[in-house]
């Protein structure tokens, strides 16, 4: 695997590479994910051929990190100087809310993109929902791709491109009572309502002010040390895609997979509930609230019911018995803050996803569960919760894996197929 150019099957590699621009798009229930390949090796001839419009697109996309009010480019995720389909370039990752899709199209028209005719591979429900409006307004050749195919292929593809840097897990170590080692990540801050640190990245070394009186959450007792994982040894694994809803797939190989489960309790539920319960407006705000909240004010714990552990079934008193279980009590409801409610919402949803993922893994004898999806964006807390839950409930038998490009795999899958299949299309 020395050659970066691995995504094209060898028997097709002699075929013509499609013209620029190269996009892949995934239109989900909440977010639109766009990947764009910026060529670095354009010949003079190509630059002429490229023309003004295409140049404008390129310059607009790479010259900005924010587009309009809501569009954003995830600069941290950019993959620089890679070779795809014989071309050298940078891979960019851009997102905006699905409810801005029509504004996006207007913007494209305004910038005269409709004068260009090119092909785009699209996936996600929006590939169907927006097909007519896109093709009516823009001069695109719109190819719809299966969501799950694209997801799996995207995961595979990015792991090949990004090698050791894509996949990782958390080594969970019980925290010593004294100062944490400097290279480890401490998450006291998640538990302490007095800590106002907002978490902006999955790698957070802020140890916060450890004045928390909560010893209830096991997260506080653990250090999470991020470790790289070699993707090649992963099969078979359970792939959990947490978007608006959640899909659970059993992946035996790139070609051999099936959707085995899913749940409607996902990212959309998190944000929806947070909006209703806390009045927050954005995902970022909701995550920020959750980071500072304390779910034990909201949930009912085992000891709230049994006065201690329920030892017959090995349930410690400090684990949650019932999510939101204290919120039927007026006084407790008055005491719970927005932060507490957001935190409880997050934990409820992740616990549930973790539980379903674990039970699916048991059903299909998998030791690894890989969590992806835009919901994990900016969300170190969630990843630690999932890592901890997977480890705890499987008694250490299962490992939770994560990928750096959380929500972009569907779009990447489209890009890969665009390069592959348009080659085939052209040759026909």
């Amino acid at each position: 695997m020395i050659n970066q150019d691995l995504e094209l099957d060898s028997n097709e590699s002699h075929l013509k590479i499609p013209d620029f621009p190269w996009f892949g798009i995934d239109i989900g229930g909440t977010l639109v994910k766009l990947v764009y390949f910026e060529p670095l090796d354009l010949t003079k001839e190509e630059e002429v051929k490229e023309g003004d419009v295409l140049r404008t697109i390129r310059n607009y996309l790479i010259g900005n990190t924010a587009y309009g009010d809501t569009g954003e480019r995830d600069v941290d995720l950019e993959i620089k100087s890679i070779q795809i389909g014989d071309r050298l370039g940078n891979l960019h990752f851009i997102r905006f809310p699905t409810n801005q899709m029509e504004n996006f199209i207007d913007l494209c028209v305004k910038r005269k993109f409709h004068e260009l005719c090119f092909q785009v591979y699209a996936t996600g429900g929006g590939a169907f929902k927006f097909e007519s409006i896109v093709t009516e307004n823009l001069n695109l050749n719109w190819s719809k791709c299966d969501e799950l195919d694209m997801l799996i292929q995207g995961v595979e593809f990015l792991n090949q491109i990004n090698k050791e840097n894509e996949c990782y897990y958390f080594k969970i170590e019980p925290k010593k009572t004294d100062k944490s080692p400097s290279n480890s990540v401490s998450f006291d801050s998640f538990l302490s309502s007095s800590c106002s640190d907002s978490l902006s990245s999955s790698v957070c070394s802020s140890s916060g002010s450890s004045n928390s009186e909560y010893t209830t959450c096991p997260l506080q007792k653990s250090n999470f040390i991020k470790q790289n994982h070699t993707f090649m040894n992963t099969y078979p694994y359970i792939l959990v895609n947490i978007g608006s809803g959640v899909s659970v797939l059993l992946v035996k190989s790139e070609k051999d997979y099936k959707r085995v489960s899913g749940t409607s309790i996902g990212g959309g539920t998190f944000l929806g509930l947070c909006c209703l319960l806390t009045g927050c407006k954005t995902y970022e705000e909701a995550i920020d609230l959750a980071t500072r909240g304390d779910s034990t004010k909201v949930d009912k714990l085992v000891r709230d019911i049994y006065g201690g552990d329920y030892s017959k079934f090995g349930l410690p008193g400090d684990i949650v018995a019932s999510s939101f279980g204290n919120m039927n009590i007026d006084e407790k409801r008055d005491e719970a803050t927005r932060e507490d409610l957001a935190r409880a919402t997050l934990q409820t949803i992740l616990n549930n996803v973790g539980l379903i993922a674990r039970d699916c893994a048991r059903n299909y004898n998998c030791e690894r569960v890989m969590f992806v999806g835009s919901f994990l964006r900016l969300n170190g807390l969630s990843k630690h919760l999932l890592a901890y839950a997977t480890d705890y409930w499987s008694k250490g038998c299962m490992k939770a894996l994560f990928l750096e490009h959380e929500g972009y795999f569907g779009a990447v899958g489209c890009l890969k197929n665009f390069i592959n299949r348009s080659v085939i299309d052209d040759s026909l």
Binding site: G28, G29, T30, D69, T70, N99, G125, G126, F128, K129, S244, G245, S261, T263, S264, I265, G266, G267, G268, T269, L271, G272, L273, C275, L276, L277, T278, G279, K281, T282, V298, D299, K300, I305, Y306, G307, K312, F313, L315, I319, V320, A321, S322, S323, F324, G325, N326, M327, N328, I329, D330, R333, L341, T348, N352, L355, I356, D359, C360, N363
Partner: protein
């Protein structure tokens, strides 16, 4: 994680209430008590007993006037009583128990109370102080499982599932000998999933924190509902599609191309995310959505989540029966509906989503059983006393005028088991399910209502000697009680399980017994037995003089059928009898449609009988008098002549209408032996004639519950033909019963509605059953011989 504890506002308050014997039946005789105290409901279980009157029959050789004498004796019947009420009445309840338990002997008291449930530690002191008893706390989950096993084994019609569209209960037969393994999903505050493999072998295999309190908590945060039931009421009215992001919302109009379900939810509450431009407050934002829609979305989300997790566990453990319990379920049809839908969705219809009628009592029954280990299921059987059980147990709403829900089981005199020759895999005793068939339900309910006068009169008549004020009052109380129950059943037809003609008949017997009326036809039966015995000699001679063997068998079966006309359960018989149309047996012979011998395999039956091909014939007999003596006995005697075939006659253990009881049967056979040497030899010498009580007290017959001694005899004597006689045993029940031997179902259909209904039903079910119905002025008959092909 779960708890059966029902939550309520933590402020605990109690309310006093006047308690009566109505609620705490037989408490004065109570010996052991189990209590399950939840946050909102308390459940009490105790064992007790009551005395009831019954008849003792004895030979009277010197009394020429009657063939035997009937005396009243008292018998004690052990009971199990269960009461459910709101925890706020716990003080009053405990006070009442204290007042009425004073008689309890000292050594008994020390070991006599067990408590479970989330509230048990809170009320432990109250209980032990007031009752001066040591209260021991029992583990909640093991109590649930013991309670569940007990209900599955002992209470018929306990298990049901719900119809997604009509929300009607659909009762499921339970193989009482084969109840394991199953999953018990207890949805209290949280969810516990228990795998139960045997009485002693069970474990908590999983759980979820998203349970009943999650619905309550989120419901309280998102709506103005004051309590759990109000959230349910909101959810019943809402439309989740306004707040849930559906697959079609993501895919646009194209979802149908993908073969996806219209209403498939992609993201629960996914439509409630707000755009960053909106600047309204949280409260104002929340008002944009209907509370009903939010409540329904949360409810569906929780039900689907629980059913998904339950299905995953069932698959891991290779189990296909999933029972749900806990206060989240408690008679709440909308929750059951979505759980059912969830289970069939996630398991692709491969797993059963089951509920229990007495789900609320699981913990209390279990706590009680901990101190009542002698309630060995291998030794005792129980029946549900409908008169002492309330119908409101299946309604979620509390009835304020009667806040105590009761459920009573009475011990059967015999251990009851499934008939060994019954093909029991899919056995459902009853022909018509009145819970499903609305037309049939209203017919039968009004039919039983109309005929209540007859029974009231009969009750009074049977106590002619002491026809005083008190008897009249008892009779009218009986009538009132029965009519009340009928009215309640109109409201909730599922209260006692599958509503059937059998359960309505049993209910009537239970109501009569409640007011100390027993065997109200005993005098009529005695008179008719006497009359029958007087005519038996002539009838036997008449048959003996038929030379043609085929004609002889035909006459025997004609008599067999004609006897069945004499049935006090049938209004048309009572009318004809009043007009003197059935004084003579020949009138009965002429009153039936006698085309039975044209039945398809009639000759097969006759051939097998002619050539003595049966080892042992087991006959479930019906009525006293002409039916037994002039109908059944000549047939029995003819068979016994060959000395190669044995006969088991089985009669009811207890009285029901004019059905012959085992005691009466024995006396009648002894008298008949004086008239027939064949009978005499068979009964006293060769023992080719065997009399056994069937364990039943009903005009109908549930073959999954027969006296264990009868079952043993059926095996021992290698019964190879079963004859079921009468409308109750061969039509209302067992019409569809299949046996692992030959069988004959024989009855005179004395009810026009039933004849018509029956015609429809049999045409639907089985094209091969051809028999003529309703020839002018003749009772149609059922005469159905089914050969067994191994």
């Amino acid at each position: 994680m779960s708890s059966n504890e029902e939550i309520k506002d933590e402020k605990s308050y109690t309310e006093s209430i006047e308690l009566t014997q109505e609620a705490f039946k037989h408490l004065e005789n109570a010996s052991r008590i189990g209590i399950d105290i939840g946050g909102s409901l308390a459940k009490i279980a105790y064992s007790s007993s009551y005395e009831y009157k019954t008849a003792l029959f004895s030979d009277t050789e010197n009394n020429s006037n009657s063939i035997y004498s009937v005396n009243e004796i008292k018998k004690t019947i052990p009971t199990l009583n269960f009461i459910k009420f709101e925890t706020k009445y716990i003080d009053s309840a405990v006070d009442y128990i204290k007042r009425n338990l004073s008689s309890l002997e000292e050594p008994e008291r020390a070991k006599s109370i067990r408590a479970t449930g989330g509230g048990s530690h809170k009320y432990k002191e109250l209980l032990s102080q007031k009752l001066d008893l040591e209260v021991k706390k029992e583990d909640e989950m093991s109590c649930l499982i013991m309670g569940c096993n007990f209900l599955l084994r002992h209470v018929p019609n306990e298990v049901f599932t719900i119809d997604y569209d009509t929300l009607e209960y659909e009762f499921k037969p339970v193989q009482t000998g084969n109840i394991f393994p199953y999953l018990l999903v207890n949805i209290g505050s949280g969810v516990s999933i228990l795998k139960v493999e045997s009485d002693d072998n069970f474990q908590r295999v999983g759980g979820s924190t998203i349970g009943g309190a999650t619905l309550w908590g989120l419901g309280s945060l998102l709506t103005d509902a004051k309590n759990f039931d109000e959230i349910i009421e909101l959810a019943e009215k809402g439309d989740n599609r306004n707040v849930d992001m559906l697959v079609k919302d993501i895919y646009g109009g194209s979802y149908d191309l993908l073969g996806l379900n219209d209403d498939l939810i992609a993201s629960s509450l996914g439509k409630t995310t707000r755009s960053s431009h909106e600047s309204v407050s949280r409260e104002e934002y929340l008002k944009k959505f209907k509370q009903e829609d939010l409540a329904r979305s949360v409810l569906i989300m929780i039900c689907y989540d629980i059913s998904q997790i339950a299905t995953l566990h069932a698959r891991i453990h290779n189990i296909d029966r999933i029972y749900f319990g806990g206060y989240f379920i408690h008679n709440c049809r909308v929750n059951m509906k979505f759980l059912k839908h969830g289970i069939s969705y996630w398991s692709q219809g491969k797993m059963e989503c089951l509920f229990l009628r007495h789900e609320g009592y699981l913990g209390a029954i279990g706590a009680f059983l901990k101190i009542s280990q002698e309630l060995d299921h291998t030794k005792y059987s129980w029946f549900e006393n409908y008169a002492h059980s309330s119908t409101q147990s299946i309604s979620r709403k509390r009835n304020d005028s009667n806040p105590f829900d009761c459920f009573e089981l009475n011990q059967e005199d015999h251990k009851l088991v499934t008939c060994p020759l019954l093909d029991h895999e899919s056995y459902i005793p009853d022909l018509v399910d009145l819970t499903k068939d609305e037309e049939a339900r209203s017919y039968w309910l009004s039919c039983f209502e109309r005929t209540i006068e007859t029974y009231e009169k009969q009750c009074i008549k049977s106590y002619l000697e002491d026809n005083d004020e008190q008897t009249l009052r008892r009779a009218s109380d009986f009538k009132k009680s029965y009519l009340n129950k009928l009215n309640e059943l109109k409201e909730s037809p599922f209260a006692f399980g599958r509503l059937t003609v059998r359960s309505l008949l049993d209910l009537r017997e239970h109501c009569m017994a409640e007011f100390q009326f027993f065997d109200v036809y005993s005098n009529e039966k005695r008179d008719e037995n006497k009359h029958g015995l007087e005519l038996l000699g002539n009838r036997l001679d008449y048959i003996e003089n038929i030379n043609d063997l085929n004609e002889k068998w035909k006459e025997l079966f004609r008599g067999f059928l004609a006897g069945n006309v004499y049935d006090y359960g049938a209004q048309s018989f009572i009318e004809k009898q009043k007009m003197g149309h059935l004084e003579k047996f020949t009138q009965a012979l002429n009153s039936i449609d006698d085309s039975f011998h044209t039945m398809e395999n009639y000759t097969d039956l006759i051939d097998k009988l002619k050539f003595n091909q049966y080892k042992c014939i087991c006959i479930f007999v019906d009525n006293s008098g002409f039916d037994l003596i002039l109908g059944v006995l000549p047939f029995v005697i003819e068979i016994l002549k060959n000395k190669e075939t044995k006969i088991i006659l089985c009669a009811n253990s207890k009285a029901a209408i004019n059905d012959v009881t085992y005691q009466e049967l024995t006396l009648v056979i002894k008298k008949a032996c004086l008239l027939s040497d064949v009978l005499n030899d068979a009964f006293y010498k060769t023992q080719n004639l065997i009399l056994i009580e069937n364990g039943s007290a009903s005009p109908c017959l549930d073959l999954s519950r027969i006296n264990i001694n009868l079952a043993k005899a059926i095996n021992f004597h290698k019964v190879d033909l079963i004859i079921l006689e009468g409308m109750g045993r061969a039509v209302h029940t067992n019409f569809d019963a299949k046996f692992k031997c030959d069988s004959l179902k024989s009855a005179v259909i004395k009810n026009k509605w039933l004849a018509e209904k029956f015609k429809q039903l049999t045409n639907l079910k089985d094209n091969e059953t051809k028999f003529e119905f309703l020839k002018e002025d003749k009772f149609p008959v059922l005469f159905k011989f089914e050969k067994f092909f191994p």
